[in-house]
């Protein structure tokens, strides 16, 4: 092994990840075997589907509109097997050695706390709170778009669990960084940003929205600048680690997020375009790029763009 290979492992509070690339919530997360598959493909950790109190089928199809190479609009509607059934899937992923982060969504602080307590009991290493799904009535953005709401939910969850709590915040508000600040004050160990950007697809021939739910959330390369801006602003306003999400499909994208202030990143839509093998390519690509730039570790690049030489 070469001595000058950059260290890819990163720390999110007490949590150590073997590399900065996390499988984003909602992708490959319904079954434990799929989570394990993403781990085997090289992800630094895998985040479950957002789990709720009861089984939820999600919205009817069409749930996806795909824009060739620049994005995806989805309104899945938070489908998930429910907290009763889901522990077996976490167990299946953990049995294969995966670092599993649980994601939960609730309608209020109390429901979040209860779900977090039950999912934490399955051995997940951290919990990500879905405060940001843009298209589910009564959940996500609807309960996470003001600093007070975010703080109340984070506070309730932090009281209930020992594992680090990650607040995943929405970009669909004038000041996403204010949500991050509120989450930090309430005890969040990290902030992930962003969730999808609210969007709509219309079919002009049919005179109607394409997605069964109407509004959806945009992901993929198109939203990278939005995610970078949020991470950039959040990084300058909080002390806790930031996890960057939004349009990361190459190692260069990831490096940009690190330099904007992200300590880790989540990858989702790229799996649709490039398959799960994207994780292996991201890991080796980032390693090479860090070496070429003279960074000894991924952590050393975090926030680098904030102190750029003038």
């Amino acid at each position: 092994m070469r001595a000058d290979v950059a260290e890819l492992a990163v720390e999110i509070g007490p949590l150590r990840l073997r590399n900065p690339f996390l499988l984003a919530s909602g992708i490959w997360g319904e079954s434990g075997e799929s989570l394990a598959g993403a781990w085997d493909a090289g992800a630094g950790g895998v985040i479950t589907k957002s789990i709720g109190s009861a089984p939820r089928p999600g919205y009817p199809n069409p749930t996806i509109e795909s824009y060739s190479d620049w994005g995806l609009l989805n309104a899945m509607g938070l489908p998930n097997p429910g907290i009763e059934e889901y522990p077996r899937e976490v167990a299946a992923a953990r049995a294969r050695g995966a670092t599993v982060i649980g994601s939960v969504f609730g309608g209020d602080a109390e429901e979040f706390a209860e779900l977090a307590r039950r999912l934490a009991a399955t051995g997940v290493v951290a919990l990500e709170l879905n405060l940001s799904c843009p298209h589910a009535e009564g959940y996500g953005t609807e309960v996470g778009s003001t600093p007070d709401d975010v703080a109340a939910i984070v506070r309730a969850v932090v009281r209930e669990v020992r594992v680090p709590v990650i607040a995943k915040i929405t970009p669909n508000t004038p000041d996403p960084a204010a949500l991050a600040v509120a989450a930090e004050k309430a005890g969040a160990a990290a902030i992930s940003a962003i969730n999808t950007v609210r969007g709509l697809a219309i079919d002009a021939t049919l005179h109607r929205p394409v997605l069964a739910h109407g509004l959806g959330g945009l992901s993929g390369p198109a939203i990278k600048p939005v995610g970078l801006a949020c991470v950039w602003q959040i990084y300058s306003r909080v002390q806790v680690p930031v996890i960057g999400v939004g349009g990361i499909s190459t190692s260069e994208d990831a490096l940009e997020y690190l330099m904007a202030g992200a300590r880790a990143v989540e990858v989702g839509t790229a799996v649709a375009r490039d398959g799960i093998g994207v994780f292996g390519r991201l890991v080796s690509g980032l390693s090479e790029r860090l070496d070429a730039l003279g960074y000894r570790s991924a952590a050393a690049a975090v926030g680098a763009a904030h102190t750029a030489p003038s």
Binding site: W28, E30, E33, P57, N61, N80, P81, R208, A272
Partner: protein, 261 residues
């Protein structure tokens, strides 16, 4: 991206099964499926029952509410199509046993047609609840296949499951490959009968689908995703899976045993 097309032809294949033909240019092969959107209703994964040229087709059995609504579509009605997705049958075998149960023939017919056109010899075991529900029997006969049928009620052919016919054919004739589509328990039986004779079996399987892009996990079957890794799988890949022939996942991702709702 999806394309909105107009239905150009509607054929009542059996009392419960309808074929819709529509113009769609994207190249496709036997085994592949499209996501077909019925505006105002659901979008469903459907194997193409006609794959060649610019006129594609799907063949739909009335099962749930959507498929019943779909059968009421008329020529000129609009549907949205995206795809084709998934893999294709390997058409290289020269002596093929085709085993179709119920609407499974929808995906097997174009595969058999392509193989027959390039000189393969086809034997078809076709099963249905009753004689009138035998799907694409005439189409298989027209391509020169030897067709044997089984019906649950004994109204034609062997009285009972098509697996009985398939097992007999496997015991008495030589095949290079078996292609099968139908209820999973049926495919499982066919695969177990062919395995000891070293005849490779390829199964087209069905699962809940949402994105069809290998992302949402709705179609997870053990370690594979049916939408991108399949829908056609060699049986040896499926037989060891805990879920194959036993359970599928409902739209919430809960595991549900076959035969329950």
């Amino acid at each position: 991206m999806r394309t909105v097309v107009r239905v150009t032809e509607r054929v009542l294949e059996t009392p419960s099964t309808v074929t819709l033909r529509f113009p769609y240019e994207a190249p496709a092969g036997p085994g592949q499926f499209v996501m077909i959107w019925f505006p105002g209703d659901d979008e469903l994964p459907m194997s193409l029952s006609y794959t060649g040229g610019s006129s594609k087709g799907v063949t739909i059995k009335a099962m749930g509410e959507t498929s019943r609504n779909v059968q009421r579509l008329r020529v000129g009605d609009a549907v949205g199509i995206r795809g084709p997705y998934g893999n294709r049958f390997d058409l290289s075998a020269r002596r093929v046993l085709v085993v179709g149960g119920g609407s499974g023939s929808a995906v097997l017919a174009p595969a058999a047609e392509s193989a027959a056109a390039s000189g393969a010899h086809l034997t078809v075991a076709l099963g249905a609840t009753e004689a009138s529900e035998l799907l694409f029997r005439r189409r298989f006969e027209d391509m020169g296949a030897d067709v044997e049928v089984a019906t649950d009620d004994g109204s034609e052919g062997t009285h009972g499951f098509v697996t009985v016919v398939a097992e007999r054919l496997l015991a008495t004739e030589r095949f290079d490959a078996v292609w099968t589509c139908g209820p999973e328990v049926m495919m499982q039986k066919v695969a177990r009968a062919a395995g000891p004779r070293n005849v490779p079996v390829f199964c087209s399987v069905e699962r809940q689908m949402k994105c069809a892009l290998g992302m949402c996990d709705a179609c997870a079957l053990g370690p594979v995703h049916v939408c991108v890794d399949g829908p056609v799988f060699p049986a040896e890949r499926l037989l060891p899976l805990e879920e194959f022939g036993r359970s599928h996942r409902d739209p919430s991702g809960r595991r549900v045993p076959f035969g329950t709702r």
